[in-house]
Symmetry: C2
Subunit: 160 residues, 2 copies
DNA sequence: CGTTGATAGATGCAAACGCATATAATTGCC
DNA sequence: GGCAATTATATGCGTTTGCATCTATCAACG
């Protein structure tokens, strides 16, 4: 038994990186928040919105991916907005003839929301231009592998 | 020259994954947005905020990382909020004795914002509990390597 | 059936937000 | 030094938001 035998405990990955697991998590979250803010700001100032707010577009986009009409509650799961705020946002889009509310024969409480033809057309138009801006912003700094990795990590985070 | 020579163009990584680079970027962004929304909602409903909104905490946190007092404009770079909204948010926090405004001798336009003792104490208290919630949420679904990767990808996205 | 509790969505209201613009101070250029 | 352009922040105002609460409907159980 030599005095040179290393007696330090085996390092974890976090130790090897010089940070605790908690710090690692918080640094990752802070970086993600910053990236979110930077990109949201950049996308918001693109001239592609045709009078929609990003939240309004978010609702149109969510509906565009759905085959069947959605309830307010369902939409709420995809949009970071309180139920009353979402309810009124839908009101406004209905007033603008971009959405329709129709009754559910099986549940009189529910409001089924769906895109009008105009709503779908507007979503497509905005989506095309916005999607191009998203691609532009992300592909200039990330490789294909990194984009795929970001998607994978994000899906893990979003899972319950 | 044989007829068996493959004449298809070399596949890119995106082709190999079966998606175009644009689609890849948009899928990554959508997943990131979803993760952001899911986690924000979860963090917001944690009972750690002591009467602060998350945006207000964001300002206290940003200031807590700075040695010197910051201008409104500097804070604005870190917070996803319009300049007037930030100006009034600071007003409210000053009214609550969590921040102080002091004049800049070299530039009478500028408002130097800094934490009061109470503001710093509140940030620490909230930060401790919130940081724990962040760590909890992220470490249960991501490994250390993945956390570090997320941080790296996010920093790349936020650059420029 | 009828009452109780849960669920979907709407509404009252005060607080907070964004846009446009005002105010005030600085910089640059003649 | 004086005037235009720019920068930093504040304010007016209409819109949107969140919280609390309300209404209406459904589900479940005696």
């Amino acid at each position: 038994m030599t005095a040179a035998t290393p007696l330090v405990p085996p390092t974890t990955t976090a130790d090897a990186l010089g940070r605790s697991r908690t710090v690692l998590a918080n640094e990752a979250w802070e970086a993600a928040l910053t990236a979110h803010a930077v990109l949201m700001r950049r996308f918001a100032e693109e001239d592609v919105w045709h009078g929609l707010s990003m939240r309004e577009y978010d609702v149109l986009y969510t509906l565009s991916k759905c085959e069947r009409p959605q309830r307010i509650g369902e939409l709420g799961r995809h949009v970071l907005l309180s139920q009353p705020a979402l309810s009124r946002l839908v009101d406004r889009l209905v007033d603008r003839r971009l959405l329709t509310r129709c009754a559910d024969p099986a549940d009189a409480r529910a409001a089924h929301i769906s895109l009008t033809t105009a709503g779908r057309a507007l979503q497509r138009e905005v989506g095309l231009a916005h999607g191009a801006a998203v691609a532009q912003a992300m592909t200039t700094v990330l490789t294909d592998e990194e984009l795929d990795l970001l998607r994978t990590l994000s899906l893990k985070l979003a899972q319950e």
